[in-house]
């Protein structure tokens, strides 16, 4: 029943946070709600770590190890983002505008609800609706700041992902068609897997391509990625953390669930599509990273790159690569949310999103500087952090498979991205502290100010600390239960 409670709790939190009682009420309810959701998700994850499935309503709500992994990550990012929001929203919106704050939190909770629904639903049509709801319910979070740029980003986000949605819908309907006309077949992930050997290969293949393109739009795969850097850079930082850290991954989860339906030669074909899309995404994004002028955009491109890496890992095939993909999902999610929290902290400390405008962040705000550095190193894949371990295991699995060309390219792209991220972050974090303001009329950097020392709100510090722990921890040690969960999830990607 945990699964049902999770959904009910976040719905309740959304409703409660609209109540006009005090300034602290809405964020408080949101944090408590997401904490409860996190604990319940943890319970679900632990229960499925040994394998097997938890079912709340047969054919509708169920969780196996892979979905429990995604559920756990959603709940984790949701919790930390809720905590971070307390400090961030209060600072940026200002304490006065109560209604705007309440609106933010209710939308936040609804968005979280739809995100949680993606792994919890097992009925494919409902999964599709949940995925689309994540878009629709987050559109107004992206446009929250109501600047022309934010509105443009929200528009692109809504229109492109809705287009993708319809493409994915026809793919899903085709899958239903392939299962035969009987109304008694369970149209769930498990039912689909059971029915897949009887389906015509042409049908499966076409359905897969439609879903890949459709959901791939939402996961930010190149060339359907154009909305992603905009939306992920214009939204408020806690929302960016959810969008970039877990929303993309949750959509990728829906694509990856199709993998075990293909056997033998078909599996290799499908793997090729994964690898092609993955390499293109990683390659294009790693080069676009270098020229990013906005540090939130920088991290957004890095998300595209990481989606590419996960796609390649999923496409390589074999247990080792799939395990690497799962690890990459976990490490990317925690690291990317850290990055966006750090970016939010930097924005609060400096008031600008421009990379070229910031020098010596570490002296302006030591905490923001440190976390940005850690986040940058972590997401670029420097050794003691989680991403390094997962990328390393993917590269290793690929070499074991003998796919040297793919791995060579992937390693090259990772190196380029590392270079791009570190160059930019270094420039921001170290040096003489100054913020160079844009001269709006001449469009060039003009006068510089010597900034004051900035102290982050407590809630933000807590959120940053909570995310930095797994980023470092998973780089050196993987808890036994998590290992089990990843193992089960990776095994479920291969044909049983």
């Amino acid at each position: 029943m945990e699964l049902l409670y999770i959904l009910i709790i976040s719905l309740l939190a959304a409703a409660l946070s609209l109540l006009p009682v005090g300034k602290r009420f809405a964020p408080g309810v949101t944090i408590l709600g997401s904490l409860a959701v996190f604990l319940l998700s943890l319970r679900t994850a632990l229960a499925t770590a040994a394998g097997g499935e938890i079912t709340a309503i047969a054919d509708y709500l169920a969780c196996d190890s892979f979905s429990a992994l995604i559920l756990l990550l959603v709940a984790f990012v949701g919790l930390t983002a809720a905590i971070f929001s307390w400090g961030y929203i209060a600072t940026t919106v200002g304490e006065t505008d109560d209604r705007k704050i309440r609106r933010y939190y209710s939308r936040f909770n609804l968005f979280l609800l739809s995100m949680l629904a993606v792994p919890i639903f097992s009925q494919l049509a409902l999964v599709w609706i949940a995925v689309e709801m994540t878009t629709l319910l987050s559109v107004f979070l992206v446009s929250f700041e109501s600047t022309p740029q934010a509105l443009e980003a929200a528009w692109k986000y809504a229109v492109l992902t809705c287009m993708g949605a319809s493409l994915a819908l026809i793919g899903i309907l085709l899958l239903r068609w392939g299962m035969g006309p009987s109304p008694n077949v369970a149209f769930t992930w498990a039912g689909l897997l059971a029915a897949s050997p009887q389906m015509p290969p042409a049908l499966l293949y076409t359905a897969f391509l439609f879903i890949l393109i459709g959901f791939g739009t939402k996961a930010g795969l190149v060339p359907m990625h154009t909305w992603l850097p905009d939306a992920h850079s214009q939204a408020p930082s806690p929302i960016c953390a959810i969008l970039s850290g877990i929303e993309t991954t949750a959509v990728l989860y829906c694509i990856m669930r199709l993998l075990p339906m293909f056997q033998g030669g078909a599996a290799a074909d499908i793997g090729k599509w994964f690898i092609i899309f993955g390499l293109i995404s990683a390659g294009v994004a790693s080069f676009l990273l270098i020229q990013a002028k906005d540090y939130k955009r920088l991290f957004a491109f890095s998300t595209v790159e990481h989606m590419g890496i996960i796609m390649v890992a999923a496409g390589l095939g074999g247990y080792a690569a799939h395990f690497g993909a799962m690890m990459q999902i976990v490490s990317h999610t925690v690291t990317k949310s850290l990055c966006f929290f750090a970016a939010g902290a930097t924005l609060m400390a400096t008031g600008t999103r421009n990379i070229g405008a910031i020098r010596g962040l570490i002296r302006i705000s030591p905490l923001a500087g440190t976390f940005l550095m850690v986040g940058g190193l972590g997401i670029a894949g420097a050794p003691p952090f989680a991403v390094f371990l997962s990328e390393f295991s993917i590269l290793k699995a690929g070499i074991m498979n003998g796919q040297y060309l793919v791995i060579g390219l992937l390693a090259f792209f990772i190196a380029v991205a590392f270079f791009g991220i570190m160059l930019q972050i270094n420039r921001m974090v170290f040096g003489r502290p100054e913020i160079i303001l844009m001269d709006e009329s001449a469009l060039q950097f003009a006068r510089s100010t010597a900034p004051k020392h900035y102290i982050l709100p407590l809630a933000c510090i807590i959120a940053l600390l909570a995310t930095v722990i797994p980023v470092i921890l998973f780089g050196v040690y993987l808890p036994e239960q998590l290992y089990q969960l990843l193992h089960q999830a990776a095994a479920s990607l291969g044909r049983v």
Binding site: M133, L151, T206
Partner: protein
């Protein structure tokens, strides 16, 4: 020819006619400049979707498809135009003509190419899955409408036509869906109808916000965010 065969032949032809007009509506959304006419064409297309659902429902004796038809009519024929009028009424009445990146004859030719492509990809599927007379019409036409809708979204630079393009895509997916996946659980159908409403509401409200902030809805001209 027995009577049931006659009825079947008549129903398939009627359904195919609905399909043909449905496809024509998709072409219309690409090829017509007047915003208000586009809106009417969309409503007509939704009506055709409902007609096809009724025909299929009558043939399969499925209450389910009648519910789909009723939902379609209520949401798409009544509520959506009303919502659009509330949210972006100014745009659809005051601004009459829509600009387009590619000119209309070219767009129409591309739409034809898209239709042929849709038949090309639907062909093997129909052959592989032993399709009946209804699927043969609905699947390729639904796919064509879906892809033409995607094309509409890309070439039109105005908020409402882009939204109509998305809705046409979604109409296309449903047009295919009522024939190939007519046995989805009712809750999924209800949720889908609800989803369409939310889409219109969200995108419509966003268009209104854009209009209040930057005083136009030529979303194609928004260029603040891009790679240098």
């Amino acid at each position: 020819m027995s009577e049931s065969e006659m009825v079947f032949s008549f129903l398939t032809k009627l359904n195919a006619l609905t399909g043909g007009l449905f496809l024509l509506c998709a072409f219309g959304l690409v090829g017509i400049r007047q915003m208000l006419t586009c809106l009417r064409i969309y409503v007509f297309q939704a009506l055709l979707l409902a007609v096809s659902a009724v025909i299929l429902g009558y043939y399969h004796a499925s209450i389910h498809l009648f519910v789909v038809a009723a939902l379609t009519i209520v949401t798409k024929v009544f509520i959506i135009p009303w919502v659009l009028r509330q949210a972006v009424g100014y745009e659809s009445y005051a601004k009459r003509e829509i600009s387009q990146v590619l000119n209309i004859p070219t767009s129409l030719l591309i739409s034809i190419a898209i239709t042929i492509f849709a038949y090309y990809i639907a062909g093997p599927l129909l052959a592989a899955n032993g399709a009946g007379a209804f699927e043969k019409v609905n699947l390729p036409i639904g796919m064509a409408s879906l892809l033409i809708g995607a094309y509409t979204v890309t070439v039109r630079g105005e908020a409402v036509p882009q939204l109509l393009g998305i809705l046409a895509m979604e109409n296309g997916a449903f047009f295919a869906g009522i024939s190939i996946a007519s046995n989805l659980p009712l809750i999924a159908e209800l949720a889908a109808a609800f989803y369409v409403l939310i889409t219109v509401l969200v995108i419509g409200l966003l268009a209104m916000r854009i209009h209040t902030v930057i005083a136009k809805t030529a979303v194609g001209e928004m260029m603040a965010l891009r790679e240098e």
